[in-house]
Each structure stands twice: as structure tokens, then as C-alpha cells.
Amino acid sequence: MMEDNKKLIEIKDLKVSFFTPAGEVKAVDGISYELGYNEVMGVVGESGSGKSVEAYSIIGLLQNPGKVIGGSITFEGEDLLAYTPEQMRQFRGNKVSMIFQNPMTCLNPVYTIGNQLMEALTVHDSKITKEEARARAIEMLEKVGINNAEKRINQYPHEFSGGMRQRAMIAMALICKPKLLIADEPTTALDVTIQAQILELMKELQKKENTSIIFITHNLGVVAEICDKVSVMYAGRIVEQAKVEDLFYNPQHPYTKGLLASQPRIDEEEPERLIPIEGTPIDLLNPPSGCNFGPRCKDCMKICLTKKPPFADLGDGHISACWLHFKDLKGKKEE
């Protein structure tokens, strides 16, 4: 990966808040990462950790009362946050496209699959003829493994099964050959067997079409399947980021460790007891002044209660935000 060291997208200190009647909710509180061409990054976290919000702000789909209040998003050297709404519209679906969690509700029930696929093409290419668009749509449907695409293209979403709808969604997202695909829990609403098929399909298409993917999920198993690197998010912040092998074999942040311990692993010979992470996520309306994970952390220290931890660089792109990494350092210093 990354023969070309050019960055596709770079996010710096992004902050997104929701201004609700109850107060400001810092859904994303200063996250930064970058993604190269043809790279797949997983974003993992529990619900409410801000992973979807972060994705929506890339593609400009944040809904009121959500607002980007700080940071920058740079896509191929262009500042996305400075785009006009019209530029943003041109950008969406063309350079970056997105697939969503629930394929049952994400397709418009009153139009045929073909109509919706072709629309994705025609909005970005006014010159394309209907026949061309149709041919592209059929080709794309075949690519995502829908048999009998010629006929299927005239069917309505309700005539498709859940897995097939998600395939159609993927076809629709990739029809304009976007450079980046954001997949927001694309397999969560599907049956396990279908999940595996869709993942397989995405992996295959990613290689074929040279698309980068930001893959949002709460399922670490899925991440292991498909991603090159992983960001673990907790309460609006990235807590650990690493290459996928590093994260699985050498997790550093207590939250990541907890996540891994709470997931079943089939590669272990002795089935281990699953250990849930105690407690509930913090209230983003009143975030603590210290580490967000502190209240649930079994290794919580006094400093964690008062100061947010900085990132420790553990080498080879592996970073982790936890005071524990600095404990030894302090020990050394005192010696």
C-alpha cells in the first residue's frame, strides 16, 4: 500500500458540535487523521462515539443542529469546508460517496433501482445519454453481483432483499468511480452470512476500482477483514490509531483492550470468557475535564481525572492517547 505517498484526505483537529436545547454536544472533539490513495481505514467505536458524525462532515451531510466548529478537512489539497453548497453538491457522489447502515430505508421506494442508479450518473454528467447511463447501471449491478441485472434494473427496492439492496447501494455509490467511499456500518443491519458476502464484495471492488474506504463500524471483526489501519474512537475523540495487525495483536489503549476482550474470537483455541466494559459512555453534554474514558477505565489514575491525555507515539504509525504510557516515562525520569 501507499506507493504513492500523496494524501487523499487529511483531517486536522476537526470539531463538530450539536447545538441542542439542552446545550452544546461535542460529538466530535478534535480528531485528526489522514488517508492515502487506495487505503482502507476502519473507524471503530460504540454508538454515540462520533464516528458517523465525522463521516457526515466530510461529505457535507451534517444536519441541523450539527455544525463544524473547528479544524479542517482537505481533500486532494482542497479545503472542503470552504466549498460553496453547489461545489459541495458536485463533490458528493462524484469524488466521495457514501453507503449507509439500513439498506431497507435508504433507497427511495417509489423509483426503480435503475432510475436511482442512473440518477447518480446524470447529476454529475449532464451530457450522458439515457442509454449510456442505463448500460453503466447494468454493468455496475453486474459488478456488485446482482444476477439478471437487465431485468432487475426495472424493479423497485421492495422487490429486492436486504442484501441485494445493499449491493445496489454499493453499485450506486461506486457508479461515478469516486476516490473515496464512506461506508457507515454497511453490514450492521444484515444477516451474518450476507454480511460476509457484502464484505467480500467491498474488498474485491476496492481492489478493482482503486477506491479508498473509510469504514465505520462497531464490529472489530469486520475491521480485521477489510481494513489497512484502524482508528478507535471514544466520546468524540480518537483514542488509538494503528495498522490493523498492530491494533489486534498489540492493543495499547485500555479502551481498545476492553473492546477486544469483549468480542468473541474464533482463532483462540481455548474459548475465553468475554469481558464487557463496565459502565456507560459519558454524557457528551457534560464531558469530564479529564480523560473521557477515565470513569470506565480499570487502570484510571489521579491525573486521568483532571487532564486529557496526549498521544503517545508508539512507532510505525501506532499512537494511543493514554496517561499510562507516560507513567513509565515519569518513573524513568525520577530515577
Binding site: 457522489g93 460517496s97 435508504c106 447518480a120
Partner: protein
Amino acid sequence: MLLYILKRLLASVGTLLVVLAITFFLMNAVPGSPFITEKSTPEQIAAANAKYGLDKPLIVQFKNYLVSYCQGDLGVSLKMQEGTPVTDIMFHQGKFQLSIKLGLIALLVSVIIGIPLGCIAAYNRGSGLDGFLRVVTTVGVAIPGFVLATLLLVTFAVKLQWLPTISGSLDNVKAYIMPIISLSFYNTCYLAKLTRTSMLDAINQDYIRTARAKGVTTKSIVIKHALRNSLIPVITFLGPLIAGIITGSFVVESTFSIPGLGKYFVQSVLNRDYTVIMATTFVLSALVIFMNLVVDIAYKIVDPRITLSSRED
């Protein structure tokens, strides 16, 4: 599709039968007969009853009605225009045509004005225009039809004298203005409110997010994606709307002295003119039931998910 329509038509006949049965037995539940007046002697009443077959057992009378309806005969008026065939009164005197004409124009006006207004309000949600439309439509559904009709009449016909007082036979265009406004105002406002709500509901759906993610323009999102979906609940309302226009026609026809079917029906009920009650009930119910059928077919056209055989789920 054809099979469905056939099935529905059959069911409609059943409904019509039930309505007629209810009407008939309700009508006859009251003791006495339409011929009782201050002066009439028992013999006269008995003679009149015998003449029009009212002395036969109820079930036979009911059967006779049905048989004659099947033959296209609506009977003769017993009281109001004694001896005149009801078909003559309804169709040749133009009552039916008049009411239908008024009703259809009012329906069209409501749809053509109401739905776009709702879209405009939803599209400009939160703006001053939206607020203004909300006030107008909410007030519009809170004014009783006869109050509006009377106010229009007094203001524009009596005080300002811009429009003719008595619309009568509706022989010029001006005569239509006030009856149509009175008949369609409530429905226009209701449709606008309904469209706005369902439009906003549609805009919050996942598929709209998908369309936005595809880069579809806002205009196209509203017109192509949201409108068609939001029309589904609006169509549901069209059935009651048609019934509502018939209700309204009673009021409007009385206020503007229009000799239409609605007014005629009320008069027949008040006069206990049995055959006319049955005949008007038959015609009006058939109309409402038929329009409901049309609405159901319109569903299928707008929403491909609805398999016509089971609308419920």
C-alpha cells in the same frame, strides 16, 4: 390490476347495498308515513300508501327498490314533486350535473392550490412565508363552511355588489366564484397542511440522505424524491375530501340558493320523501364509493409498494 378493479367493484356493490339497507331501515324505523299531514284522513293515507306500495312488508319494499335500481329506475317522488320520476328531477332538471360540476371544480381547485402551497411551505420551512401559510391554513380549517359562505355572500354580493347574490343556475362565470371558494377553502387549507407535514416527514427519510449523498440538487430532491413519497398520505385524504365536498355542497347550495343535489337530499330527508331519500342516497353513495375506488387505484400508481389486494399492510 383488472382483477383487482373487478374485485373492488364487487365489494363496492356490497357497500352500496349495506348503505341502502341502513338508509331504508332507518327511514322505516319511524312510525307513520310521509302522507300524514294535518288534513289527511286515515283512508287517504292508506290509499296513498297502497298506491306507492308502502303497505307491503318492508323486505318486499326493499327488494322492489333494488330491482328497480338495477333497471335504472329511481322511482317517483312521493311528496316534494309528487308523481315526478326521480331521474327526471335529478338529471333532467340538472341537479346532478350542477352538483358534480361544482364538486369537481372545487376538488381541482383544492388539489391544484393546496398541494403546491404545502410544498412551498415545506421547502421554505421556518421562513416568514411558511409562517404566513401556516396561519392561513390553520385558520382555514377552523372556520365552518357556512360561516365562510355567508361572510362571502354578505361582503362581496350584498355590501360590495361585485358578485351576483343568487348564483341560481350558475349561468355565468362570476356566479361560480363564491360557491367554489366556499366549497374548496377548507379542503385547500387541509391539503396544504397535510402536504407540508408529509413533505417534511419525507425529507427526514433515509432515502433523501442517500439522494443528497449522491449529489442530487436540492430542487430535484424536493420535486423528485420527496414530493412523490409525500403524496401517498395526501392521496389517502382525497377519499374523505370528496365526501367532504359533498357535505360542503349541502351548505353551499343552501347559502347560494343553488338547486343542486345536496340541497335536494336535505330537503328530502326533512320531508320524509322516501323514494327521493333512497335515490339520492344511492346516487351520492355510489359517487363516494366510486371515488374511493379511483383513489385506491391512484395509490398503486404513486406507490409501487402497494399491492392492491392488501392495502392494509
